[in-house]
Assembly symmetry: C2
Homo-oligomer: 481 residues x 2
């Protein structure tokens, strides 16, 4: 018996009906991922991986332009090495995968699969950093890491995920602090300009710091459903790791000193952020900068003479202009193809049929708003380039509007509860005294936790939203993915 041909465009669950189901529908139906028998892990399929390759290429160029170099550390960390920094091991040990046997031999010192690589970088720095002349080292690696999560979701939380981890080491504290901020800016610029995702830059409260860090900075984005997503983090370590790992260098004054360190990372979670920021009930909507296919050409009545030739001509023109273009001349109907590439979030669709050819024009449809325009074939390249910019600007504006509509400025606990009840999940801005007890209480009572202390402060009130004591900072609160 012949099996059913699995390749077809099914409808997906609507986002209003069930946002979580809508999300996983997109992940599978846009062919970004597939499930496997490896619990909590996934296959990143060609279309999903191509998005990651574009993210990687863009960020890698940014990192290198700032002087960073790529390296590759082992994927294993001996338990004894992981234990050198007290806070770090406490933070990570409960959620790592342990290798206990190599072949049939039981290991004396078991190895964890790296959840992050501070300890390995520190060990290496201790070996290669001797003088101030050896500083700074601005290293990065593109690898996968493992954290033994209980509940997993594609891209957002999986036991193995892909990321980059930057690890830098500097002569002075100020240089390291500058690096921490520079990389947060780099992430923010990438998210806003290239992924079209508006983000809030800020500092994490102490309760939410990275294990072993002096300060953790993050960019926070608001998803379509009003939940917050941490899209990137940058950590300042001071000289804590240097002391734990005995990294010392001879300074300009000929005295031994401890260097200062940072680390920073973004992950495949960014793909989850793209889906939940821009997607709609027809599927994915991709920002042009990272879309594997920026424009798809769909021939109409392709069996009529000249249609496929003309379509191929458009393809060649756009390809030569450096646009990532695909011509779909398969036997499926144009309607099927429209739905398929909407599902896959291709920013621009180009339709060309006999009538268009007669008029020396073609049809251009932008994915995010389904706006249809005609363009003369001689202006095709500029029109497509303009449309790609329009898509980027359009989806950014829409995401920003969503965030603004779902950002609630509150001065009392009651206001927080009321805003969330009336308008649904979103960002809450409210003042905070700096006391961890109040942070916990806000979460307990209203359900929103501290996301960050935004760099861009607003003075909403003089007192803490929770205890009424003098406020120190405005905090951004939200329910987090």
């Amino acid at each position: 018996m012949a099996k059913k041909n699995a390749k077809m465009v099914d409808a997906i669950t609507s986002m209003d009906e069930d946002f979580a189901k809508w999300y996983t529908d997109i992940c599978t139906k846009a062919e970004l991922i597939a499930y496997t028998s490896v619990k909590g892990c996934m296959v990143i399929r060609p279309y999903g991986y191509a998005i990651w390759e574009n993210i990687q290429k863009n960020l890698d160029e940014r990192f290198k332009a700032l002087g960073h170099e790529n390296v590759c550390m082992p994927m294993f960390i001996p338990e004894s090495l992981l234990q050198k920094e007290k806070d770090h091991v406490e933070g990570f040990a409960p959620e790592v995968a342990w290798v206990t046997h190599g072949g049939s031999e039981k290991l004396e010192d078991r190895l964890c699969v790296r959840p992050t690589s501070e300890t390995l970088f520190c060990e290496h720095y201790a070996n290669i950093v001797h003088s101030y002349r050896d500083l700074p080292k601005l290293y990065n690696q593109w690898v996968s890491v493992v954290r033994w999560e209980k509940t997993t979701r594609p891209f957002l939380r999986s036991r193995e995920f892909l990321w980059q981890e930057g690890h830098t080491i500097h002569e002075t504290a100020q240089e390291a602090i500058d690096e921490t901020e520079r990389m947060l800016d780099c992430y923010a610029d990438f998210c806003q300009r290239d992924l079209a995702i508006p983000v809030v830059k800020g500092r994490k409260t102490d309760s939410d710091k990275f294990a072993g860090a002096e300060a953790t900075y993050a960019i926070e984005a608001l998803m379509h459903d009003g939940k917050a997503l941490q899209a990137g983090t940058s950590h300042y370590f001071g000289d804590g790791f240097a002391k734990a790992f005995n990294i010392q260098f001879t300074g300009r004054d000929n005295k031994l000193a401890y260097p200062h360190q940072t680390s920073w990372g973004v992950t495949t979670r960014l793909i989850g952020a793209i889906i939940m920021t821009h997607g709609d009930d027809n599927g994915l909507v991709l920002p042009p900068a990272v879309a594997p296919i920026q424009a798809v050409i769909v021939p109409v009545q392709q069996f009529k003479e000249g249609v496929l030739d003309k379509a191929k001509e458009l393809y060649d023109t756009l390809k030569a202009a450096g646009i990532r273009v695909k011509l779909d001349d398969s036997e499926q109907s144009p309607g099927w193809k429209f739905a398929e590439y909407e599902m896959k979030g291709v920013p621009v669709r180009i339709e060309i049929g006999p009538k268009d050819i007669e008029n020396d024009q073609c049809v251009i449809v932008t994915r995010h708003n389904r706006e249809k325009t005609f363009t003369g074939i001689s202006q095709l390249t500029e029109t497509v380039q303009k449309k790609l910019e329009e898509v980027r600007d359009g989806i950014y504006a829409k995401a920003l509007e969503n965030r603004e509509n779902k950002t609630y400025r509150c001065v009392t606990m009651e206001e927080i509860t009321a805003a969330l009840n009336e308008k649904g999940d979103g960002f809450v801005k409210a003042m905070w005294c700096g006391d961890e007890a109040c942070e916990d209480k806000v979460k307990e009572i209203t359900g929103v936790g501290s996301r960050c202390i935004p760099f861009e402060q607003e003075n909403l009130s003089d007192v803490c939203v929770c205890c009424g004591k003098p406020a120190k900072k405005m905090v951004l609160w939200g329910k987090a993915y």
Copy 2:
């Protein structure tokens, strides 16, 4: 007390004195790798990783031009999945790392860290391949894998190594066989043209096949010391894995059929091959196509007026022409810099001093033969481009000569022993009856094992070098890394 500045150009062990020591000296002194406390694993340092990035970029473009797409599979394989193909599990189970605990929880089905990913690709293919329309799938991934080796050496044999693994699935056996050969050709062309390493293409004998393969093909290179190195492999699986994993598709005749598969890979071992093919007693010699720095500019008397300005001008010219160029204007002496960049194998050195500027010229030295020429500054770009080609051709010719000098055509066992004794390790070409017992005996008596059955056959004799029975094939024998 100030620590000693570790950064200096030390002499390395000469290759004639101790080839193995010479090799590891280059690995560490050219700053390709560093050792870590993770036994059998290494840090790939920026200079080493940049070589890998260039290898990766070059091959990835070749793969994509042939229609391959990148994906990413989980790094873990459940024991139950690994066991589905009998030969495969027998081949790999003894040398894998086992994850037995996630956090504090003991796993029911322990996971191995992938030694290779056939089983995961098969599971995925079983889920996504339903019709002949879904075929072929031409997938590849760039990841690291783990094999629990007892004795390790940087790049050549380490417990974790970086590689790419292509996994393809086809409608017919012939298509899969063609793919196996196409990818072997792709590797051979890359090695010869871009890495300047001559290779022999051939088929592995049955005793040396990949676990689970019907046929394994390989490219074999000869290192400077006369030992053989397998530089890449390509496997034809027939429908064995498809049957084990129950991958079936509806064919054009509307009947269910099993597809045919391949896999193929190259690893960071290629960096070891580069070192041992081209290196000399002054250090590394890099093929221009993958050299992180293709040309280094060393200013002479750089504190004299105009020297650094002119050097910067040369730098800008070469950079604009797309050459990977570095200007070293550090305070070290020119002599120190010459030695440093020879150690790092930079193909072309450019010297520019006050006298050169007066004569509107500069000095160009090619790394592999230390040949010095003058060039007018206005011809700089073309001269450097020509010199880079000369380096590629020069090191290829030298490697080929080494291989020819060390390839011994033998018709008796005594001839093999005599040739190896007189001329040292090398490739032996000798006839074989096809019997595994003879293969084993040749190795036992002469020390050389079967490397491959070259596609390019020579008829050296009508009888097996070992048993005297009719010969079937000429085999390439050697001592392998």
